[in-house]
């Protein structure tokens, strides 16, 4: 405990509070995250009354040693990538708080809540228009993408 770096300390605090009071529909794999604080798996359920009701998704968070000054790398992983105009079929998410609008006062919890609300406000399930091109050409790390942010309301 004493030898923890500032970023590990903060991740440890976030993990504790996320396990203690998880937001609705969000569940962190505590054992896995406890083993390796720099990589978390979050289970997420589509909210009731939305197009994603009943669906389950997995989010992967990767943290650099500069977290929280550096934003986490967040992607959907696993067999069910939500079909959404801002989610590419390789799991990359076009969400400004994950790059340009990141702030160290944001947290895993607030990112999860933003993603839940992004899914919940969706009116039509479809992939981004440039999906196939992007998936073929993009870097593995979505943070390397120069995103052109679509309007937030979709």
């Amino acid at each position: 405990m004493a030898a923890m770096s500032p970023s590990e300390r903060r991740l440890q605090k976030e993990l504790m509070s996320l396990m203690r009071e998880p937001p609705p529909g969000v569940h962190v794999d505590g054992d896995q995250a406890g083993q390796n604080l720099t990589q978390w798996i979050i289970h997420m359920e589509g909210a009731k009354g939305t197009l994603y009701e009943g669906e389950r998704f997995q989010l992967q968070f990767k943290f650099s040693s500069k977290y929280p000054f550096d934003s986490p790398e967040v992607t959907f992983i696993g067999g069910n990538i939500p079909v959404h105009p801002h989610v590419y079929s390789n799991g990359h998410i076009c969400l400004s708080i994950l790059t340009d609008d990141w702030s160290p006062a944001l947290s895993v919890q607030s990112v999860c809540l933003s993603i839940v609300s992004m899914l919940s406000s969706c009116k039509e399930k479809k992939r981004p228009p440039d999906n196939s091109f992007y998936v073929k050409t993009c870097n593995k790390n979505p943070k390397k993408t120069k995103w052109w942010y679509h309007d937030d309301s979709v």
Binding site: P6, R9, R10, K13, E14, P68, F69, P104, A105
Partner: protein, 191 residues
Amino acid sequence: MSKCELAEMSTAKEQPGPSKPSGSAQEEKERDERMFECNICLDTAKDAVVSMCGHLFCWPCLYQWLETRPARQLCPVCKAAISKEKVIPLYGRGITKQEDPRNNVPPRPAGQRSEPEANAGFSGFGFGEGGFHMSFGIGAFPFGFFTSTFNFGETRPGAAPRGSPQFLEEQFLSKVFLWVALVFICWLVMA
């Protein structure tokens, strides 16, 4: 959810002393501690500074964030514009020794003390030579101001009859004095 918690807390408080659950004191303590947590590292703020928008940070944490994005100096919490120069250090009780200021972090900016508003008129006499001259010049003025306002509009015995050139001149003069006095007072306040 949080509303329920609040309701519980308040009922717990209303209960008479002995039956007070030990948990609530603990919760309250936790809440108090959270109030003084840095918005970046989530620890109790060390070398605490507060932004003009009122958000609390450790100085090293805020400094590092401002260095990370020099082009966009925004408050991490509310996105208000902030700058290194415009943060206020918080000094709690008990002198904190220079506890190992982290490497590469400049000292926290010192608190700026502005003197309380200019000590009114004559009380300035005790302040040494400069003060003496200053307040002397100033001190004399309110009398002129006072008399000129006093005269204004009121007919003293022996005053020139209304409408005569002398009356007009007197009125003009007292107005001029009034203005000079006002300007002088303004200058004083600004100085």
